[in-house]
């Protein structure tokens, strides 16, 4: 491995001269959907940059392997390292190894445990989870206002696994939004967990419908649950014109539901943008420029107006 890296970096040096930036990246796993989008974002962005080269390694979800890869990168003299951590609790050792060798380190997508004590020359690139739920909830609030329901609207919320940070955060975001002056006309009838699952959300929504209470909006912590709610509402003959449904993730299924006029709001996590951002940050650090400890790549709101940008 060392040898391959060494020859690769030598080749890169010879090809582009001494100014070339050599970046090593260790990705938690190559076969993960989301991470693949991010990884492609990195390679695509790399092609637009001249004079930099990227060496990508698959950590195969193995903490020990990932640390070995980082040490290999250091040994082969890369200018910066990008890590998508297998286990965010195991980042301390990586930070130390890189700091000791004086090599800049960029964490991407997964927040390292030692965020507060990150050494100089290290940074974290990701999206701010607070944005996703807030963006969706606020847009739903606007939609309800546009429908003339600002006199009072009722909503249900389907939460993800209660043990999951994103679920807790997105639920809190929704509460925060309907606590704002502009949106406090929305009252939450009930909130329950459907464990991210379309099937459980379908059953939960049917249960809510059976109580006979009128409602105007359903917020799912993710798209799957929002789609489950839509299926249950359609089965009960509720017109999707009358209900504002929001989710998070912008999955293919959700986009199709939005095209069909069933889904109103979802939020796209710009994973490719995160990948590209991590490259930019790594290059800046390698050039000795100052970089914020945390670099946020914004979430994008997806609505029927701009859905075409996200269909491929």
């Amino acid at each position: 491995m060392n040898k391959i890296l060494l020859t690769a970096s030598l080749a890169a040096f010879m090809a582009t001269g001494a100014v070339a930036q050599q970046i090593g990246a260790s990705i938690a796993r190559f076969d993960d959907n989301g991470l693949t989008v991010m990884r492609n974002g990195m390679t695509d962005h790399m092609e637009t940059l001249s004079g930099a080269s990227l060496q990508m390694e698959d950590a195969q979800d193995d903490v020990a392997r990932q640390l070995d890869q980082i040490n290999n990168f250091i040994a082969s003299g890369v200018d910066a390292i990008i890590v998508n951590a297998v286990d965010t609790n195991a980042t301390e050792a990586m930070s130390q190894a890189a700091a000791a060798a004086g090599v800049p380190l960029v964490y991407v997508n997964r927040q390292p445990i030692n965020m507060d004590t990150l050494p100089d020359g290290q940074a974290f690139v990701a999206s701010n989870e607070i944005e996703s739920g807030t963006l969706a909830a606020f847009r739903m609030c606007q939609d309800l206002r546009a429908q003339g329901k600002s006199g009072g609207a009722k909503a249900y919320m389907l939460m993800g696994q209660l043990s999951n940070q994103a679920a807790v955060q997105r639920s809190k975001d929704f509460h925060d939004v309907i606590g704002m002056d502009m949106c406090n006309f929305i009252t939450l009838i009930d909130e329950q967990t459907a464990n991210w699952s379309r099937d459980e959300a379908q059953d939960m929504m049917s249960n809510w419908i059976s109580s006979g209470e009128e409602f105007d909006a359903v917020f799912g912590n993710n798209d799957e649950m929002a789609i489950g709610a839509i299926q249950a509402m359609k089965a009960s003959g509720i017109s999707m014109e009358d209900v504002v449904v929001g989710g998070v993730d912008a999955t293919q299924d959700a986009l199709v539901a939005m095209q069909a006029g069933d889904m109103d709001v979802t939020v796209f996590q710009d994973l490719a943008g995160q990948g590209a951002g991590s490259i930019d940050t790594a290059i800046k650090l390698a050039n000795g420029e100052a970089v914020d400890k945390t670099v946020f790549i914004p979430f994008k709101l997806v609505t029927p107006e701009n859905i075409d940008e996200f269909l491929n």
């Binding site: 076969d31 959907n33 939460m159 379309r198 049917s206 249960n207 059976s210 006979g212 299924d253 199709v256």
Partner: protein
């Protein structure tokens, strides 16, 4: 108490010593649980005197029953209920099947790949697994593929248990992991979506309930009145005695596990059709819920005792509790705890009743 008969018993029929069929107890428990929820509806201040099963504000179709709630109570347990029908047979035969949940995930992924439609909203299917040839196949293709896959997995389970004599717990635990692996490997974790209309019909609306009750009826009959059923009970009660009376234990066990896995595979078909998607994580904890339904329904984990009617009632208990929790707006944090308490209580009560019945005779 017993003065005259010893040993095999039953020679002297005494009407006073005949106990109720177990199913009746579960039925009463079901009614009590409903009454508790109805009482909570009247007592809890924030419920505004709403009723769980009745609908007094007659905004709907004129019936006084809350049809929508009754529908969802049974709809939400039908799919796991179908699995529970198979699990019931496995447990009666003295075994256990832990692989049914992941088998649901794996079967759903595989089956859905053969049930995809070519165009979604006029665009090519963004989730296509295979090429052109696998689009818009007749619905019988995914059905057969799914049931065959179930039979294969069940056959392996049964063969392992019957021939190598490893404990069913271990064999099916291994299969649990294998099936979860297959589910993830099939599309490398990608969900499979957008089935044909005819496939979507299998799990549409109340169809899961229709399948559940139909299969329950069939297997009630099979267990009660056929040789297959009698052999299943015999093996579960006393395997040695069953062997000595000439039952081909090995063949029969394989058959029981095959039927159970085919039922789980069918549940996967209904589930993926109902949701119009298949995901590798589908069927989380289904194996445990299916076992819990059977156990609440009076199926003994020691084997040899239980019935399909009991399991159907056990499933209904689950459905009533689940809807009841939502109806009284019980916070999600407490639901799992309450569910756990109810499962344990059900089995403790049943054990206690069994012991008393044993003492009496």
């Amino acid at each position: 108490m017993a003065e005259t008969t010893h040993g095999i018993g039953g020679l002297k029929y005494d009407k006073s010593k005949r106990s109720w069929p177990n199913e009746l107890n579960i039925f009463f428990a079901l009614i009590i649980i409903v009454l508790i929820f109805e009482a909570l509806g009247q007592l809890l201040p924030y419920m505004n005197g709403q009723s769980m099963l009745f609908d007094f504000n007659t905004r709907r179709d004129g019936t006084i029953l809350n049809i929508a709630r009754i529908k969802i109570i049974i709809l939400q347990v039908s799919i796991i209920g179908i699995i529970a029908l198979g699990v019931t047979q496995v447990i009666i035969s003295g075994g256990i099947d832990l692989s049914s949940g992941p088998l649901v995930g794996a079967t759903a992924m595989i089956v859905m790949s053969f049930a995809q439609t070519e165009l979604v909203n006029g665009n090519p299917n963004p989730k296509a697994v295979f090429g052109e040839w696998a689009f818009d196949l007749p619905v019988i293709v995914p059905l057969i593929v799914g049931l065959m896959f179930g039979a294969l997995i069940g056959g392996i389970n049964g063969t392992l248990i019957a021939l190598t004599r490893i404990p069913p717990f271990i064999a099916t635990l291994g299969m649990f992991l294998i099936c979860r692996g297959i589910a993830q490997w099939w599309t490398k974790g990608q969900p499979v979506s957008f089935p044909t209309e005819s496939y979507a019909f299998i799990g549409k609306g109340m169809m899961p309930v229709v399948w559940f009750l139909m299969l329950a009826f069939v297997f009630h009959f099979v267990l009660k009145y056929t040789v297959y059923g009698k052999h299943t009970y015999a093996i579960g009660s006393n395997e040695d005695a069953a062997r000595m009376s000439g039952i081909n234990i090995k063949r029969h066990k394989i058959l029981v596990y095959m039927i159970a896995s085919m039922l789980a595979a069918f549940a996967a078909i209904v589930l993926s059709s109902k949701n119009l998607t298949a995901q590798s994580g589908m069927g989380p904890f289904y194996e445990l819920y299916a076992i819990a339904m059977a156990v609440i329904g009076g199926v003994s984990l020691m084997g040899g005792r239980g019935s399909i009617i009991g399991t159907v009632l056990g499933a209904m208990v689950f459905g009533v509790i689940q809807s009841g929790f939502t109806y009284v707006k019980l916070d999600a944090f407490y639901q799992l705890m309450a569910m756990g308490v109810i499962i344990i209580a059900a089995v403790v009560l049943d054990q206690w009743r069994q012991q008393r019945a044993a003492l009496r005779s």
